[in-house]
């Protein structure tokens, strides 16, 4: 040992980083060299290639239904049948399946959704497919095959029955005379059928080809070649992005912008600067000096009153949960039973946890439910307390964030309002439903991610990014809305001039993983309704955000509009003053949180518009966070010394806080009573449901006909299973 330290070893990933830097520098040089005309042209091309395909496919129908007339008829002693279940059973015939494969190249999955329904004059066989031609082909093949299958069935029956009858008639002692007469008649009828057509249905020769419904379908239909099925909007946008990127790179080489060579001449210096910015040596970025938090110097009585105000609403809600929470699975929660059954049969795999639920991939809540169930014999009341604990964690994080970003007056008022909003009984649906951990968890993770990107990252960029990415993953894999943490986080990082590439890369990867094998849930309607009914869509969004703070739909829309308008105005102000780093640092988290919830409202509008313009109680959890973010953002602005030309004196600040806080307080309280009532009603409903499903001893039990009590066909089997395990109070 010489005692001298050698130079630090090159990281193994350094060559990769260098290559990435060179590539980035090359791209930046290209972008810098592009003139105005070319930039506009590229923007147009980019928009058309990326957004165009996505919107086009959003506007397309996912399936087309062809129908063909099916006329039931009597065949000898066999009466005509109009029961759809009979026709459904015919499609399971193995010869029919074989013929479908040979004649139409169709797998059983393709026509599994075929159904027979009552039409105006006869029955109608309806078959869905991805293209009109395919639907027509399937209907025209399946219809006649069903007819021949029914004939084959009768022939088989006839043969066996005749043999039976003959055997009985030859038996000694002979059957009674009346029975013999009946058998002779039946034998005669069956013999008469020989050589006659036995099909119990006549099928029309042609199916009606379904017409393309939307403009996009008509365009696709007009394209050369066979009708292309609807592609995934996401993947078509990705394909467009890929094409756009490649075209741009090709253009750089083939028809470079005139100024490219001059820009490239400056590249080394630029590349070095870029490298230092993208991957700075440790400690190269001076840590942001955290804004000192002044001690909360308030009198003792005020402190006690403040704490009492903070805990009042959570305690009330906790009491309501304890009072009305029931140990009974409700709606989506029944899906977990299938998971438990799989585990018992040793078939449970990772894929079961990753599976889609509607549009979501609730990996984390599903796992948490699974673990909780095993720890508590699936006592669903425990899940309610667990969800409450997650809400408390979110609240704590928000209070600490308020403390770091607001002055004393703003913090005191804001924290009390936050307590009122976050624990409002208006969210009764979520408080009494263990499954809704999705909402609480995605909110906690979103707040956590934005916290890490706003505060932790200033102390250590690696730690900040690691925490934020972990939270982003939890948010994404709890609720679909969680996907928006990534773009919102990116905006926060860009606004605060913090390293953003790792976050963006992680976001892109997460989106890809999320949407891999993702399928649009047909049960939740078309995702292009928002384009067809833009007015309803806007109403849905404003009601989503405003209804929890209003006593009627009309005022709810108004409140929603006001909240959105205030948020947009405040956000615009912050963006216009983005050089004011102190303002940006204080506002970033609230800006991000507001944007996140607003995007959540928009995507809910896209996904749930088919159910009508309704603000469910479960949406209130998201809406309350939006209101909270708007309030905090306004309080942050008030902390500035001046807003525009107007100086903000302490007195004005206090008045302004009161002017914002009091209406919000009233709005938060306006529905509290209704929320308490709703929780009571919901508790009663759950209680009745628990009694009904526990008492049911057969799938035909009348109480199981209530779709809210028994939303799934497998419900009774699941109940039996739970009873056997002694879980969920069964």
């Amino acid at each position: 040992m010489t005692g001298t330290r050698s130079a630090p070893a090159r990281s193994r990933l350094e060559p990769v980083a260098e290559a990435a830097h060179d590539a980035i520098a090359w791209v930046r040089a290209g972008v810098a060299a592009e003139g105005l005309e070319r930039r506009i042209a590229w923007i147009v091309v980019g928009v058309v290639l990326v957004l165009g395909p996505a919107l086009f496919n959003f506007s397309r129908s996912e399936s087309f239904t062809a129908q063909i007339q099916v006329i039931p008829r009597e065949v000898g002693p066999f009466k005509e049948i109009r029961d759809p279940r009979y026709y459904k059973a015919l499609t399971r015939d193995f010869i029919l399946r074989d013929q479908m494969a040979k004649r139409a190249g169709a797998s059983p999955e393709e026509y599994a959704g075929a159904r027979v329904v009552e039409g105006p004059r006869s029955l109608l066989l309806k078959v869905d497919a991805k293209s009109p031609d395919r639907a027509e082909r399937l209907a025209e093949t399946l219809g006649p095959l069903m007819a021949t299958t029914s004939g084959r069935q009768i022939e088989r029956y006839r043969t066996f029955r005749l043999a039976d009858i003959n055997a009985v008639l030859l038996e000694r002692p002979r059957p009674p005379a009346a029975e013999r007469l009946r058998l002779y008649r039946l034998r005669r009828d069956l013999r008469r059928l020989a050589g006659k057509p036995l099909e119990r249905v006549a099928v029309a020769p042609d199916a009606a080809r379904p017409d393309p419904k939307t403009w996009a379908d008509r365009v696709a239909d007009a394209l050369p070649g066979s009708f292309p099925g609807r592609a995934s909007p996401f993947w078509s946008a990705i394909a467009g992005l890929l094409l756009f990127g490649t075209l741009w790179v090709l253009a750089q080489a083939v028809i470079p912008p005139p100024g490219r060579s001059e820009v490239e001449a400056r590249l080394p210096a630029g590349a070095i600067a870029l490298r230092r910015r993208v991957l700075p040596p440790r400690g190269d970025v001076p840590p942001q000096v955290a804004e000192p938090v002044a001690p909360l110097a308030i009198p003792l009585w005020l402190r006690i009153a403040w704490i009492a105000a903070l805990v009042a609403t959570p305690l009330l809600t906790l009491w309501l949960v304890a009072e009305h929470g029931e140990n009974v699975p409700f709606w989506d929660e029944w899906n977990l039973v299938a998971l438990f059954q799989k585990q018992d049969s040793g078939r449970l795999g990772l894929g079961d946890f990753l599976a889609q639920h509607n549009e979501h991939r609730p990996v984390v809540p599903r796992t948490a439910d699974y673990v909780t169930a095993h720890l508590t014999s699936w006592d669903l009341r425990v899940e309610l307390y667990r969800n409450f604990a997650v809400a408390v964690a979110t609240f704590v994080l928000i209070v600490v964030a308020l403390r770091r970003t607001l002055d004393r007056v703003g913090f005191l008022a804001g924290s009390v309002l936050a307590s009122l909003l976050l624990f409002s009984p208006v969210q009764w649906e979520n408080w009494l439903w263990g499954w809704q951990l999705e909402w609480f968890l995605s909110n906690l993770a979103a707040v956590g991610a934005l916290w890490a990107l706003t505060f932790t990252i200033d102390r250590s960029s690696r730690r900040g990014l690691a925490i934020a990415i972990a939270c982003g993953l939890v948010a994404t894999f709890s609720l679909g809305q969680g996907l928006f943490v990534w773009p919102v986080g990116l905006l926060v990082l860009l606004l605060r001039h913090r390293p953003w590439r790792v976050w963006a890369g992680a976001g892109v990867l997460t989106w890809i993983v999320y949407f891999a094998s993702w399928e649009n849930d047909t049960g939740t309607g078309s995702k292009s309704l928002a384009l067809e009914r833009p007015g309803d869509f806007v109403e849905f969004v404003v009601l989503y955000l405003g209804r929890p703070l209003a006593n009627s739909n009309a005022t709810g829309k108004l409140v929603g509009l006001v909240l959105i308008a205030v948020f947009v105005a405040a956000a615009t102000y912050v963006l216009r003053h983005r050089r004011d780093l102190v303002l940006v640092d204080r506002a970033a988290l609230w800006l991000g949180l507001g944007l996140y919830t607003l995007m959540g409202a928009l995507i809910s509008g896209v996904s749930r518009l088919d159910a009508g313009v309704i603000a469910f109680s479960r949406y209130a959890t998201m809406a309350m966070i939006f209101a909270l973010a708007v309030m905090a953002l306004l309080f942050v602005l008030l902390r500035s010394e001046r807003i525009g030309p107007r100086v903000v004196t302490p007195e004005r600040r206090r008045w302004a806080v009161a002017a914002i806080g009091v209406p919000l307080l009233l709005a938060a309280l306006v529905n509290a009573n209704a929320g308490v009532d709703s929780m009571e009603r919901k508790g009663d409903e759950l209680d009745a449901m628990a009694k009904c499903t526990r008492a049911a001893r057969s799938p035909r039990d009348p109480c199981l006909r209530n779709p809210r009590a028994s939303p799934y066909p497998e419900q009774f089997d699941w109940t039996v299973y739970l009873r056997r395990k002694g879980w969920a109070g069964y």
């Binding site: 193994r12 797998s107 050369p224 009708f227 078509s236 394909a239």
Partner: protein, 537 residues
């Protein structure tokens, strides 16, 4: 350009549309016309003093904008309706572009596409593309276009200087090996005509012999010290992506589309009701052919070079998970022999300490033991799988091995009556008829024997063995990074050749990795001039 010309160009897309031209062609034509008009007349369009401007500005601008708009919207429509086709076309275009500007990168891109051949075909199957042929043919053609484009790019850029340099350095024995391999290739071309069905002959040549060009191209690309230093890590990095997908699918199960796709292939896809893992490939054997050489090369490279440890062992671990999920036993045998080959070379090297040799031996034993343990765990799915797992220890008693022996015996009988072979393409994928029946030999060397006759096999085997021997000798004499990368690559090739004894793996996608590894081993063995770091080592 005259106004008439401009109008003709602008009208071309419309005419194409009227003639119901393929949408893609229409869109690209429109886009090209728009760009061409705008570019060629840029100066005149910007110069207000030009007399041309006074007479034609409006027409030109309108034509350019119309062509541009129609083209962009047309391309947008194509993207919207056939995203997978567009993405594939873009990737292939990107690889071809790289083949022109950065050929070594193009080879990596081509390899990555080969690693996802099954996924590509499945994705193409989702959309009724206006392309001719089915999705399998279209996918295979696109991958071949990219890969051979990259090979051509490398060879054209090199102007065959590297092969000449290798020839110049080669010893007498090495030249014999090279000549034999050259003769075998030439013979293979001639024997295409020996097949009664010429199309099958060409297809057979494409499936096997044509891909040996990858070895030459990789050797050329890896000739320069800078590329050579990164060649194996880069190849392993690409295979990490492929292995990651395979391991992920082993963990979470295959997608529904993959299940359906696997059910259609001719190879055995199910064991006792369990679907064999197929990762991003068309079939399970396609996946193991790709992952087996990678696992060996990764394990050896990781041990010999700390620089490659992360990527090497990472790639190997993922590959082994995929292989275990395939329930194949041939790959395990291939891995064992590949590792033993590397161990023997190391033990024979004079400059390696005894401690390192002992550790290498222990690592080989540990890897084999853990892999066997993995086989036992992975085989719990059904009785049939457990039977297969037992067959690893008692191959002689195994039903599937016995079937192979029977098939080999039949084929050897066939060789007696046709000692000069049936011609290239008589065995394997090329021989498949419309019913999906094909002639199989269950052994790649037997395939050569049946197709090319005794002399064909003798020339091929002699060339191959001599080449491997020569490379081993050269690499054993080398030091540092060159030996580490070269030996790891060569061990991968040996493992693949051993795997090929149990099936026609030379037709599977793994052949591309194997030939690429052979190219790296050749470059490491022959290339003069070590970089500074290597010299230090």
């Amino acid at each position: 350009m005259t106004i008439a010309g401009v109008c003709a160009i602008a009208a071309a897309p419309v005419a194409l549309l009227a003639a119901v031209a393929p949408a893609a062609g229409f869109a690209v034509a429109g886009l090209a016309a728009g760009f061409a008009v705008a570019r060629r007349n840029r100066e005149r369009l910007l110069d207000p003093a030009s007399p041309f401007v006074r007479s034609a500005t409006v027409v030109l601008l309108a034509a350019a904008i119309a062509g541009f708009a129609v083209g962009v919207v047309g391309v947008g429509l194509v993207v919207a309706n056939w995203p997978a086709t567009v993405a594939l076309a873009t990737l292939v275009g990107g690889v071809l572009f790289l083949a022109w500007r950065a050929p070594a990168w193009a080879l990596l891109g081509g390899l990555l596409l080969v690693g996802f051949e099954g996924s590509i075909k499945i994705l193409l199957g989702f959309e009724p593309t206006p392309l001719p042929g089915d999705e399998r043919a279209a996918g295979a053609a696109a991958i071949d276009l990219a890969l051979f484009g990259a090979v051509a790019g490398v060879l054209v850029a090199d102007r065959l200087e590297t092969p000449r340099a290798i020839w110049a350095q080669a010893t007498k024995g090495e030249r014999v090996a090279l000549r034999l391999l050259g003769v075998w290739l030439a013979l293979s071309v001639l024997q295409i005509a020996q097949n009664e069905n010429l199309v099958n002959g060409v297809e057979g040549f494409r499936l096997f012999q044509a891909y040996t060009a990858v070895a030459v191209a990789v050797a050329v690309a890896a000739w320069s010290p800078r590329v050579r230093r990164h060649a194996l890590p880069a190849l392993l990095a690409v295979t990490v992506v492929v292995g990651l997908y395979a391991a992920l699918r082993v963990a979470i199960g295959e997608a529904h589309a993959e299940f359906l796709f696997a059910a259609q292939v001719r190879t055995t896809s199910f064991y006792g009701g369990q679907l064999r893992a197929l990762g991003s490939f068309s079939s399970s054997i396609g996946m193991v052919s790709f992952l087996t050489p990678v696992a060996i090369a990764g394990l050896v490279a990781g041990y010999l070079s700390p620089r490659m440890r992360l990527v090497g062992w990472g790639a190997a671990a993922l590959a082994i998970v995929g292989i275990l999920g395939s329930y194949g036993r041939g790959p395990l045998f291939g891995i064992l022999v590949g590792l033993l080959f590397a161990l023997v070379v190391l033990v024979g090297a004079g400059d390696v300490s005894r401690r390192r040799k002992a550790i290498a031996g222990a690592l080989v034993l540990a890897t084999v033991g853990m892999t066997y343990l993995g086989v036992q765990v992975a085989s719990r799915g059904s009785d049939r799988l457990q039977e297969r797992a037992r067959g690893v220890l008692n191959p002689g008693q195994d039903k599937s091995v016995k079937l192979r022996f029977d098939n080999w015996r039949d084929r050897l009988e066939d060789v007696r009556s046709h000692p000069f072979g049936h011609g290239v393409g008589w065995v394997g994928g090329a021989s498949a008829n419309a019913n999906g029946d094909e002639v199989t030999t269950d052994n790649s060397f037997l395939k050569v024997l049946v197709e090319q006759g005794v002399y064909g096999l003798v020339v091929f085997l002699a060339g191959l063995v001599l080449a491997l021997w020569a490379l081993t000798r050269r690499l054993a004499a080398r030091g540092g990074e060159a030996r580490a990368a070269g030996l790891a690559a060569l061990a991968g090739v040996v493992g693949f050749l051993v795997l090929s004894i149990s099936g026609e793996y030379v037709e599977q996608p793994g052949k591309v990795v194997a030939w690429a590894l052979l190219g790296i081993a050749t470059a490491c063995a022959f290339a003069p001039g070590q970089d500074a770091r290597e010299a230090e080592a």
